[in-house]
Amino acid sequence: MQIKKRTNIKFNVPQQLIPLGILFILVITALIVARYLLVPPTFGELGHYRSQAIEDNLAHPMSYAGYYSCNECHDDMMELKNQSNHRGVACEVCHGPAAKHIEDPSEYLPDAPRDRGFCPLCHGYDPARPSGFPQIIPALHNPGHACIFCHDPHNPLLPHAPEECSACHRDIANQKAVSHHATLDCTECHVVAAEHLTDPRSALAQKPVERALCGKCHADDADASKGIPRVEMASHGQRYLCWDCHYPHSPEAY
C-alpha cells in the first residue's frame, strides 16, 4: 500500500527545482547560442584554431618558380650555368621572382642586374664571409666597368687563375699583411696544387703537420736571417704543435 503511494509521486518534482531547472535550461541555451554566434566556422576542428586558416595560408600566390622551372625554355643557359662556379646560384637570385614570367613570357620579362652594385652583395670583401669564398674589394677591382663587361654572369670563368691567395682568403691575407709574418709567402708553409686556385674543393691546400716547419726559421741552429727570434725547439712548447699556441698568420709572443 505504502509502496504504491510512493510510486504515485514519482513525477512530483519538488517545487523549488522548477525555477532552478528553467534557469538551468536558459543558461545552457544562452551558452549554446553564444557559442554558435561567437565561435567561427571550422574553429576547433583540428585544435584551438580555425582550420580554414590553413587553407588561407595555402592560398597565398607564389612568386618564385623554383630552380628547375627555367630549364623548360632556357635549357642552354641552364646547362652553361650548371657547369660553372655559379651552379649553386639559382636563376631567380639574380633575375628576381619569375613565376609571372613563366605564366606568360611575352607579357612579363624579368629584370637583369647589370649594375656594379649587385655582384658585390655576394663578392664584396667581408671578414665575416667564410675563408675560401671569392671576394674582391669593389673600389679596387677594375673600377669604372660593369662586372659583366668582363665576367659572364652565367659562366663566371676567370680568364686566368687568381695570382694571389687573397682572391679567396683575403681575411687571412689581411691579417698576415700586418703581422710579424708579413714577408712570408703563403706557400712557405702550405703546399698548394695548381687546381686549388681554379677548383679549390677538388684539391684542398695542405696544412702543415710538423713543428719542424717553424723550426726552419726559428730553431736555434736554423739557417735563417739573424733577426728572426729563436727558440730551443726541444723544450719550447714541448709536445704541442707550434700553432697550438701561435696563430701562424699573425704570430704573437705573449
Partner: protein, 257 residues
C-alpha cells in the same frame, strides 16, 4: 523518503537527461566528426605524416642577404627596414670585449665595409627567422587562437581572426614577429607554407647560393635535413627556454642568441 524512493527519482532524472545530453554532445562534437570525415576523404596529403624543419649552417653563410630579400618578395612583407620574416645578422667577436652585432636592413642591401678587421678574432653571419617552436610561446599566449601549430608542425597566423593585440610579438623570445602596418595583424615566417605544401622549397632556401640553408622533414631519411642533422653538431637558439625550435643551427657560437 526511503532510500528506494530517491533511487527511482535519480533514475528518472538520468533517463530524462539521457535524452537531452546526446543532442548537446552531438552539437558540440559535430566539427570533430567533420574533420574526421575530411581526413578520410583528403588522402593525398596527410599533414600528420609530415614534420618540417630547417637547418642553417653558419660556416657556409656568405651574408648576401638574398634570403631576406626573396622572403619579402615572396610573402609581400613591407619593404621598410623594420619588418622582417627573416634577416641576417653579422657578428664580430674581438679578442677581448663584447661581440658586435649589426643587421642594417636585415642584410638586404649588404653590410657596411669593415674599416679595420685587425682586432676581429672571429666573424660570421647568422640568418634568423621564426623557429617554429614545438612549444611555441606565441601560440600559448594568443587569446583568440589566431596563431597555432599546424598538424605538420608549422606555426601559422590566422590573418582573418587575429585581433592585432601584439601579445605574441611580446612573447616571442626570438623577435621573429612584427605587426603588419597595413593589415594590423601579427605576421611572421610560415616556412613558405604555400610553397612547401606544393613540394617547393621556401623562398629563402630557394635563393641561398651556398646551401647555408637547407629544408626538409625530420624523420624522412632521404632528405637534406637528415644529412644536416647527421653531419653537424647542431644547436637551437635559446635552448634553455625549452621552446624546442625546429630551426637547427650548425656552427652557431654561444654568443648567438
Amino acid at each position: 523518503m526511503s532510500e528506494k524512493n530517491t533511487k527511482i527519482l535519480r533514475r528518472d532524472f538520468l533517463k530524462a537527461a539521457s535524452r537531452l545530453i546526446p543532442g548537446g554532445l552531438l552539437f558540440i562534437m559535430a566539427p570533430g566528426t567533420q574533420a574526421l570525415l575530411a581526413a578520410v576523404e583528403g588522402k593525398e596529403y596527410d599533414p600528420s605524416e609530415h614534420n618540417y624543419a630547417m637547418g642553417v649552417d653558419i660556416h657556409k653563410c656568405i651574408g648576401c642577404g638574398r634570403c631576406a630579400d626573396a622572403c619579402k618578395k615572396e610573402n609581400d612583407v613591407p619593404r621598410e627596414p623594420t619588418f622582417f620574416r627573416t634577416w641576417v645578422e653579422r657578428y664580430a667577436i674581438p679578442s677581448e670585449g663584447e661581440a658586435r652585432v649589426d643587421s642594417p636592413n636585415g642584410g638586404i642591401d649588404g653590410f657596411p665595409e669593415v674599416k679595420d678587421d685587425r682586432d676581429i678574432m672571429r666573424s660570421f653571419f647568422v640568418p634568423k627567422l621564426c623557429n617554429h617552436c614545438t612549444n611555441a610561446p606565441c601560440v600559448q599566449v594568443c587569446p583568440v587562437g589566431a596563431t597555432f601549430t599546424s598538424p605538420d608542425g608549422v606555426v601559422l597566423v590566422d590573418r582573418e581572426y587575429c585581433v592585432g593585440c601584439r601579445y605574441c610579438i611580446q612573447a616571442c623570445p626570438y623577435g621573429a614577429r612584427y605587426l603588419h602596418p597595413e593589415e594590423h595583424v601579427a605576421d611572421k615566417c610560415t616556412f613558405c607554407y604555400h610553397r612547401i605544401r606544393e613540394g617547393l622549397l621556401p623562398a629563402c632556401v630557394e635563393v641561398c647560393p651556398t646551401k647555408a640553408r637547407v629544408f626538409g622533414e625530420v624523420g624522412q631519411r632521404s632528405s637534406p635535413m637528415h644529412r644536416f642533422l647527421r653531419l653537424n653538431d647542431v644547436t637551437v637558439l635559446k635552448s634553455w627556454l625549452n621552446t624546442k625550435p625546429k630551426v637547427y643551427y650548425a656552427g652557431a657560437d654561444g654568443e648567438v642568441r
